[in-house]
Amino acid sequence: MSIANLTEHSRVTRQAIRKHLRVMEESGLVRSSRHGRESIWQLERRRLEDARRYLDSISKQWDGALARLREFVEDGG
């Protein structure tokens, strides 16, 4: 997607969108390539997915830790 596509139906300025995209690019969440005068932007789906799974994974760690706590206190450890 180009900046032009992204701003077409939006009130956000091109400049603001470009700024956001650059920040996301630094985090590896999107990448850009030049096509003539335009930059074409692509989502890095794997990176986004990793970020989402981060929370799922911490959530699972707590499930495990709390199950151990239960065993620990209920079995008189």
């Binding site: 986004l48 970020a51 911490i58 707590w62 495990g64 199950a67």
Partner: protein, 160 residues
């Protein structure tokens, strides 16, 4: 999503549950970490991950994390009611200085109910953690944490 919330019913006396949470040695036993001192409200405390002596296979997987230190900032200790601290979740990546990064807040709260103690755990503040850190931490450490959990299970099981 900014917050994790878990509820678990513990069929044990309130005093027993409180000790397992508020005594840093007991906490370390079920959680899987060795703290360098007691939990005191308003102080920083260092903890170290150590490979297990219980299971050779788990120990081998743990080896890369041996000596990995992390810090918690103890916030509140309200006897038999609430324990909270701040930390950097997943702060085990070598060579990264987490000091300047935002922390999450972990709160354990206890409530006496008819058939035991209802423990509520919340961890909040994830929105402030940079997306990049979240993505990287996950890819780097999933294997290690899974092993960590296996280790605790083994340790607690064998201790009985």
């Amino acid at each position: 999503m900014d917050c994790i919330e878990k509820k678990i019913l513990l069929k044990a006396p309130l005093a027993r549950v409180w000790r397992a949470l508020s005594d840093s040695t007991e906490f370390g036993t079920w959680f899987g970490v060795k703290f360098e001192g007691p939990f005191l409200a308003g102080t920083r405390l260092r903890g170290v991950i150590r490979p297990t002596t219980v299971d050779a296979e788990v120990a081998r997987h743990q080896k890369p994390y041996e000596g990995t230190a992390f810090e918690i900032m103890v916030e509140r200790l309200e006897p038999e009611r609430l324990f909270s601290f701040r930390w950097h979740p997943y702060s085990v990546e070598a060579g990264v200085d987490y000091a300047a990064e935002p922390t999450t807040l972990v709160v354990f709260s206890l409530e006496e109910v008819a058939d035991g103690i209802l423990l509520t755990l919340t961890e909040s503040g994830f929105d402030a953690i940079p997306l990049e850190r979240r993505a990287k931490a996950f890819s780097a450490n999933d294997g290690g944490w899974t092993m960590q959990m296996k280790l605790i299970e083994r340790y607690v099981g064998d201790a009985e």
